[in-house]
């Protein structure tokens, strides 16, 4: 990896003239996970329209700084393309230079590279700049017979991104399948996975070979109705909701959770919606009360014959393994991430078998 002072600097370790370069922002056909980019509404890796910011400013002004930070991070996004080139170069400028607590740089700022061949995902490499650096150039080997799939950083914002290759970069013609959306907190955004591809949203993406929209935001996940309206605009295969831990109080969660769910159902009456109870592996008493709100919403959904499911996260891990699945009682390492992802995949498949979408 070579570090640069400016994104416009020429790399010294490789001859840039040997490569064809694309500005990824000019090539939305290879960008996945950013619905408004592909609609042509926004440039850069924008996940949200303008309304959630306005709602946060009005209702939770103390969180506007966190919102501005986390809402522009690229969690859930990936690049997918084909090229006959045997080498790929990534030239990138990230916003944040430093580590986040409880995470490796290979997660927070990591580009996690897979090759996809005959539907099979093979992990190839992962890279991230070192602490204190944010502009870099990195070259890695590529199998021309495979599609390249690069998961983007879970906890960083990409300011500039160029791809260099010895041959043309070509978008992949995928099966036209609606995306799976996630709305959650820091855990769902990906905190404490070892690398960016291993947050549970991205594991679901690989397992089902499906684009995901990860609208999760560390600390700001409040069940905003503007986000429900935004999710309502999208064509979705399923929606996963996991946001209880960001509630300041039981009263706040009671005020927000069911109305958020009902607003989603106004737009998406039939897709599978999966509600997750709180990830609470220190058995903190307050979160048990939060879960009553989530279970109450689930019961409301069942009484109204909704296509809604509940995952009790505490049931996914054996009691004598609570210290093995998370770094602090809630943020999952791969043990937790894979258990949650596998359960989500199981539910989506079962739901579609018994209730195929028209």
């Amino acid at each position: 990896m070579e570090y640069l002072n400016k994104i416009t600097d020429k790399a010294k370790s490789i001859d840039e003239n040997q490569y064809k370069w694309i500005n990824v922002f000019d090539f939305p056909e290879i960008i996945y996970g950013f619905p408004f980019v592909s609609m042509g509404n926004y440039t850069g890796f924008q996940k949200y329209n303008d309304n959630p910011r306005k709602e946060i400013e009005e209702l939770y002004p103390d969180l506007i700084k966190q919102y501005n930070n986390f809402s522009s991070q690229s969690s859930g996004g990936f690049l997918k393309f084909k090229t006959a080139s045997k080498k790929i170069v990534i030239k990138c400028e990230l916003k944040r230079k430093y580590d986040y607590m409880k995470m490796t740089l290979w997660n927070s700022s990591g580009f996690d590279v897979y090759e996809v061949k005959n539907g099979k995902y093979i992990h190839k490499t992962v890279f991230a700049p070192k602490s204190g650096k944010s502009i870099f150039c990195n070259r890695f080997a590529h199998d021309p017979e495979a599609e390249a799939l690069i998961f983007l950083p879970n906890y960083n914002e990409i300011l500039n991104l160029y791809i260099g290759s010895e041959d043309d970069i070509v978008p992949v013609s995928s099966v036209n399948r609606p995306a799976i959306a996630f709305y959650g907190n820091s855990i769902t955004q990906g905190c404490a996975a070892s690398r960016s591809g291993n947050c549970f949203a991205n594991i679901v993406s690989r397992s089902l070979d499906n684009e995901v929209y990860n609208f999760s935001m560390s600390s700001c996940c409040k069940g905003l109705l503007s986000i429900a309206d935004m999710i309502g605009m999208l064509n979705l295969r399923a929606l996963i909701i996991d946001f209880s831990r960001n509630a300041e109080s039981l009263e706040e969660l009671e005020k927000n959770y069911l109305p958020f769910y009902k607003r989603i159902r106004k737009y998406h009456s039939n897709i599978p919606v999966i509600l997750l109870t709180t990830s609470n592996f220190t058995e903190h008493r307050i979160f048990s009360r939060f879960d009553n709100v989530i279970i109450g919403t689930y019961n409301y959904a069942k009484e109204n014959n909704h296509n809604t499911f509940l995952i009790d996260q505490m049931n996914l891990i054996e009691k004598d393994c609570y210290d093995l699945c998370s770094v602090d009682g809630c943020h999952y390492n791969e043990m937790g991430m894979y258990r949650v992802a596998d359960e989500i995949v199981r539910i989506i498949k079962e739901a579609e078998q018994s209730n195929p979408l028209k």
Binding site: M101, L105, K130, S131, H284, Y322, D328
Partner: protein, 331 residues
């Protein structure tokens, strides 16, 4: 408010107090035993932990780090590099819970741990505070309220001595927080083990662990040796020679059972080395003393994805998997 300066109460420490740069530090091995090479490589505070019993509802920690090894560690969480992490277990058959961790943004740090929502009133618990891998701890005090009790966790007379020897994985490359260092995972599952983590931050660790072992008289007392097998760019013959030399030493000079483990791998080349290891154990007729965790060879890409970053590094779950396979042998 009782304040325990841990440096005045080494009975609280799993590790030792030694001297680095004219400062007292908590280290996993006496510095004088490993001064033969660079700071980059030698073991530091990683593998050490503070271990006590208490009924305190709030615990205040004041600690200082020094000699932070910066550099390119995208595969070690900053929390593991320079922070502390802590776990608790209720007495009366409680299970371990990871409570939280810190980043240590500055050299001097204060942490107040509020356990009111997780510990029942008047309940006693066991507490472990795991120390960082890429720096030393040069100051550490624990404070509790006047009406609370705190005492060191004292190992029983029958406690087993467990020596971890290895390279980058044993050192901590791959972990988010120090709760997931392999020796700390074993410490939680075998709280009565007296654990020492002698690991070197280099792929070429054989010469260092051999040098340490042969210079260290207390090796003969160890009950278990957990030996990391890493084949990074190593010729198979050289690997077998290194392994044979070390195994011969421990068999001749101790009664220890040696447990050999690898980073979980799907790689056929790794399987080749593992098979060669198995052949060595059989040909030397040492299977009663040397056990190999062959179950760490993986069947699928999915498993490799779950447990590793690459063939060189295990992640937190990979270390959990290694611990679980080692535990099957121990039990």
């Amino acid at each position: 408010m009782p304040v325990f300066d841990i440096f005045e109460h080494p009975e609280f420490i799993a590790g030792c107090i030694s001297c680095y740069n004219n400062e007292k530090v908590i280290s996993s091995v006496p510095i004088s035993k490993v001064e033969f090479d660079s700071y980059q490589i030698i073991p530091k505070s990683g593998g050490c932990y503070i271990h006590f019993l208490s009924n305190a509802r709030n615990i205040k920690l004041n600690y200082r780090i020094s000699a932070f090894l910066g550099g390119y560690f995208p595969h070690i969480g900053i929390t593991a590099q320079r922070g502390i992490s802590y776990s608790y277990r209720l007495l009366d058959n409680g299970f371990w819970r990871n409570y939280d961790c810190t980043q240590s943004k500055t050299d001097d740090n204060e942490v107040v741990i509020n356990l009111n929502n997780v510990i029942p009133k008047d309940a006693y618990y066991e507490f472990m505070i795991f120390l960082p891998v890429n720096c030393f701890i040069t100051g550490f005090s624990v404070s509790v309220s006047d009406d609370a009790q705190i005492k060191p966790y004292l190992k029983s007379e029958n406690s087993k001595k467990a020596l971890f020897l290895g390279g980058v994985s044993t050192y901590g490359v791959g972990i988010n927080t120090t709760q997931f260092l392999l020796s700390n995972l074993i410490a939680r599952r075998h709280a009565d083990f007296e654990i020492q983590n002698v690991s070197f931050n280099t792929y070429s660790y054989w010469k260092y662990i051999e040098r340490y072992s042969k210079g260290e008289n207390s090796i003969v007392l160890t009950d278990y040796v957990f030996l990391e097998l890493s084949f990074h760019d190593t010729d198979k013959q050289i690997y077998i020679q290194n392994l044979k030399s070390l195994l011969e030493f421990y068999i001749a000079n101790s009664n220890a059972k040696v447990i050999l483990w690898i980073i979980p791998s799907i790689d056929k080349a790794v399987a080749d080395y593992v098979n060669a290891t198995e052949e060595l154990i059989a040909s030397e007729n040492i299977s009663s003393r040397v056990k190999l965790c062959k179950s760490l060879l993986l069947d699928s890409e999915r498993q490799a994805d779950m447990y590793t970053y690459s063939k060189n590094y295990a992640n937190d779950y990979g270390n959990v998997f290694i611990m679980q396979e080692i535990d099957k042998i121990l039990r």
